[in-house]
C-alpha cells in the first residue's frame, strides 16, 4: 500500500499545487536555516579522529608559580614550555608521543616554474604520523636517526605535492623553505579535519599544515613559532636561545595512552616529573597539577563549540517550529476539505489506521521534498557563512550525515505537523459526508 499511498500523495500535490508548494517552501526554509546552523555545530562538535580520540591525550602542566593566573577554566596553561616538551619527549616511557609547534615558510623550488608561496609548517617529532593516522601516499616518516641528526627533511601533503611536483612521487626531490634546502621523504594524504584539535591555540578551524619537519630542525635553525606564545614570568625572550630556557609556553604535547591504567601511570609519571623539576627551582607552587585530556575532553575543555553556536541551533529549531505550525494549519485546511473522500474510503472498507497512514505518507512526501529543497537552501546558507568568515571554511559544510539528516528532520517535522490533521480526518464519521458529496 505504501506505493499506492505515495501515488495518491503525488496526485494530491498536483490537485492543490499552490498549497503544496507553499508547504514545501515553508519546510524547506525551516530546514535550510536549521541545517545551516546545525551543520556548523555538528562539524564543530564531531569527533575529528574517531578511531583514536580516546587514545590520544593532550598534556598540560601547571608550570606557573603560585600567585600567577591563566585564562583557562582551571588556571592550567594550554601549552607547554620547550624544556618540558623536550623532557617529556626524551623520557624513558613506553608510549608514543610528540611535541610540536606551528611555524611557516616561503616555499619555492630552484626554478622559475613555481611561484613561491607561504605555507604554514608543523614542526614535530616523528611519532606524529603514526599517532594521528596520517596516511602516506609515497615514502614515509623521517627516521629517529634523521631527527636526532637534524637532517633537512620534510614530509609534505598531497596538496603541496600537487602544487610543487604535479602529484608525482617526489620522494628524494628537494624544495626550499625560505633559504633552507630540504629533501622530501614522504607525501601524505591531505590532513582534512573539521577542527584542528591537535593545536587549538592558533585558530580551532584553520586548515592543517601542508609541510611537516622534524622539531629538531626548528631548534637548530632557530625557527620561531607562528603560533601564540604565552608567558607569565618576567624574563628575557630576545633570542631564540632565551625562548628555549624560558617559562614561555608555545608547544603542544601529545601522548598515546591505550587504556586507563596507562593514563594513570602517565599521570603519576607527570607528578613525579613536576616534583623533580621543583628541586631544580621550577614549579614553585604548593599544589601540583596537570591535565591529560583525550581529544573529546580537550574539545569540551577548550570550548570549541561556543555558546553562541548552541544558541543559534536552538533559535533555528524554534524557527523550524514556527514553519511546522504554519504547515499544520495548511494541512488542517487541506485534509479537512478531503473529508468527503475519506468518508467514501471508509465506507469502502478503509480502517481509521489506513486513512491515518495514507495521510502520514502524504506529509512524509511533503517533508522529503521540503528536505531536499532545504539542502539547497542550507548550501546557500553555508556558502554565506564561509564567505563572511574564512576561518569557518572547514566547518561550514554538510557531510553525508548532515545530508541524510536534512530530509529526515524535514520528514519528522512534517509528520509532527501532520499528526493532528491526519488524526482529525481519520476520525470523521463517514456517514456525515456520503450524502453531501
Amino acid at each position: 500500500m505504501l506505493f499506492h499511498y505515495l501515488d495518491l500523495s503525488w496526485r494530491s500535490f498536483k490537485r492543490t499545487p499552490t498549497v503544496s508548494v507553499l508547504m514545501v517552501l515553508a519546510i524547506a526554509i525551516g530546514i535550510g536555516v536549521t541545517m545551516t546552523s546545525l551543520s556548523v555545530y555538528y562539524m564543530m562538535a564531531k569527533d575529528p579522529i574517531p578511531s583514536k580520540s580516546k587514545q590520544l591525550h593532550h598534556v598540560q602542566l601547571q608550570t606557573m608559580d603560585d600567585g600567577n593566573t591563566y585564562w583557562s577554566k582551571d588556571d592550567v596553561p594550554f601549552q607547554v614550555t620547550y624544556q618540558d616538551a623536550m623532557n617529556l619527549l626524551n623520557a624513558n616511557l613506553p608510549y608514543e608521543r610528540t611535541a610540536m609547534y606551528k611555524s611557516g615558510f616561503s616555499v619555492h623550488l630552484d626554478n622559475d616554474q613555481i611561484k613561491p608561496f607561504k605555507e604554514p609548517t608543523r614542526l614535530a617529532s616523528k611519532d606524529i604520523f603514526q599517532m594521528f593516522n596520517l596516511q602516506f601516499l609515497y615514502g614515509g616518516a623521517w627516521t629517529q636517526q634523521q631527527q636526532d641528526d637534524v637532517a633537512p627533511v620534510v614530509v609534505i601533503s598531497k596538496r603541496i605535492n600537487d602544487k610543487l611536483f604535479n602529484g608525482e612521487n617526489s620522494v628524494g626531490r628537494t624544495l626550499y623553505l625560505d633559504d633552507m634546502r630540504v629533501q622530501v621523504v614522504g607525501i601524505i594524504e591531505d590532513w582534512d579535519i573539521s577542527v584542528k584539535f591537535y593545536d587549538l591555540n592558533n585558530g580551532s578551524f584553520k586548515p592543517s599544515e601542508g609541510i611537516f619537519m622534524p622539531i629538531t630542525m626548528g631548534l637548530a635553525n632557530e625557527i620561531f613559532t607562528w603560533g601564540n606564545t604565552n608567558g607569565w614570568k618576567n624574563e628575557s625572550d630576545r633570542t631564540f636561545s632565551d625562548l628555549l630556557v624560558s617559562e614561555s609556553l608555545w608547544l603542544q604535547f601529545w601522548v598515546e595512552l591505550e587504556n586507563a591504567q596507562e593514563k594513570a601511570d602517565f599521570e603519576q609519571f607527570l607528578m613525579n616529573y613536576m616534583i623533580q623539576q621543583q628541586s631544580l627551582g621550577r614549579f614553585n607552587r604548593d599544589k601540583l597539577s596537570a591535565n591529560v585530556f583525550n581529544v573529546m575532553e580537550l574539545m569540551e575543555y577548550r570550548g570549541v563549540v561556543k555558546e553562541d553556536n548552541k544558541i543559534m541551533v536552538t533559535l533555528s529549531f524554534m524557527f523550524l517550529a514556527v514553519c511546522v505550525a504554519n504547515i499544520l494549519s495548511l494541512l488542517l485546511a487541506k485534509f479537512l476539505r478531503r473529508a468527503p473522500e475519506v468518508g467514501v474510503r471508509r465506507a469502502l472498507g478503509a480502517s481509521k489506521w489506513q486513512v491515518f497512514y495514507q495521510h502520514l505518507v502524504e506529509v512524509s512526501l511533503l517533508g522529503l521534498f521540503g528536505g531536499l529543497l532545504g539542502i539547497v537552501i542550507a548550501q546557500l546558507g553555508l556558502w554565506g557563512v564561509r564567505a563572511s568568515n574564512g576561518s569557518y571554511n572547514t566547518i561550514a559544510n554538510m557531510d553525508l550525515n548532515m545530508l541524510l539528516a536534512a530530509p529526515s528532520i524535514a520528514i519528522v517535522a512534517c509528520i509532527i505537523a501532520g499528526l493532528y490533521p491526519a488524526w482529525l480526518v481519520c476520525r470523521t464519521t463517514p456517514a456525515v459526508y456520503l450524502k453531501t458529496q
Binding site: L8, R345, A347, T436
Partner: protein, 234 residues
C-alpha cells in the same frame, strides 16, 4: 443474513434528543431484494448507515451474517464492511482523482488483494456494467448514469453478499434510472442480497419486498406481487 433487534439510534445535542430509529426490528434473508421507502427524515438513511456500519447505534442488537456488530471495534467493522458489504450512493461518490479502473480497485486494495486478481475483478465488473472501454476515463468525463454504473461496479468488485443502495437513481433521469435498476435486478438474480432506499414508489414496486420506515420505526411490510418491469414503464 441481516437481523436487527430493537435497534435505537438517538442523536444527542446539548438541548435536544432526536430518535432517528426506535425499536427497529428487521430480518433480511439471503438473496432478497428489499426496497425501503418512507418520507424524508423518517430514518431510512440512518437505517442504511447502521446496516453498513457507517455509524454506531445507541442500543439493540444487530447481527450481520451471524456476527454481533455491536461487539466489534472500528477496525473490525471496517474489515467486515469491506468483506461483506457493497455500497451504492445517490451521489455516486466516485473519487475524482482516480480513473474508473482505480475507483473500482479501491475496496480491493483495502482488502489486500494481489494486483493480478484485482485486475481480473475490475475488468470483469467494468465489462459487466458496459464501461470496459472507458477504464482510463476520469469520473467527470462520464454521464451521471455511467458514473452510477461505475459505482455499482465498485460495490460489486469485492463480491459482497450484501449490497446497500441509498437512492441509487436519485440523481438520474428516467432512462438511466431504468438501466441502473435493471442492473441491480440482474445482480440480485445472480445471488446478491440488496437493500435499496428510495423515494421513488414506482421503483420500489419493482423490488420483490418493500418496507416502509416512518418516524424511525418499521411501519409496514408489502410484498409486491406484480410484474416488476411494468412498474417503471419498461
Amino acid at each position: 443474513m441481516l437481523t436487527m433487534n430493537k435497534i435505537n439510534k438517538i442523536y444527542q445535542t446539548d438541548m435536544v434528543q432526536t430518535h432517528a430509529l426506535r425499536d427497529f426490528d428487521l430480518q433480511v434473508n439471503e438473496g432478497e431484494f428489499i426496497a425501503v421507502t418512507g418520507p424524508s427524515g423518517s430514518g431510512k438513511t440512518t437505517f442504511l448507515n447502521i446496516a453498513g456500519m457507517l455509524e454506531p447505534f445507541s442500543s439493540g442488537q444487530y447481527l450481520l451474517d451471524g456476527v454481533d456488530v455491536g461487539r466489534l471495534n472500528d477496525n473490525q467493522c471496517a474489515d467486515l464492511r469491506n468483506q461483506k458489504i457493497g455500497y451504492i450512493f445517490q451521489g455516486f461518490n466516485l473519487i475524482p482523482d482516480l480513473n474508473l479502473y482505480e475507483n473500482i480497485e479501491v475496496p480491493l486494495r483495502y482488502r489486500g488483494i494481489k494486483a493480478a486478481e484485482r485486475k481480473r475483478r475490475v475488468e470483469q465488473r467494468l465489462e459487466q456494467v458496459g464501461l470496459a472501454s472507458r477504464a482510463k476515463h476520469l469520473p467527470q468525463q462520464l454521464s451521471g448514469g455511467q458514473q452510477q454504473r461505475v459505482a455499482i461496479a465498485r460495490a460489486l468488485a469485492g463480491e459482497p453478499r450484501f449490497l446497500l443502495a441509498d437512492e441509487p437513481t436519485g440523481n438520474l433521469d428516467s432512462l438511466m434510472a431504468r438501466q441502473v435498476m435493471e442492473l441491480l435486478e440482474q445482480i440480485n438474480r445472480e445471488g446478491a442480497t440488496i437493500v435499496m432506499v428510495t423515494h421513488d414508489s414506482e421503483l420500489a414496486r419493482r423490488a420483490p419486498r418493500n418496507i416502509q420506515v416512518v418516524d424511525g420505526q418499521l411501519a409496514d411490510f408489502t410484498l409486491y406481487q406484480g410484474n416488476p418491469a411494468a412498474a417503471v414503464g419498461a
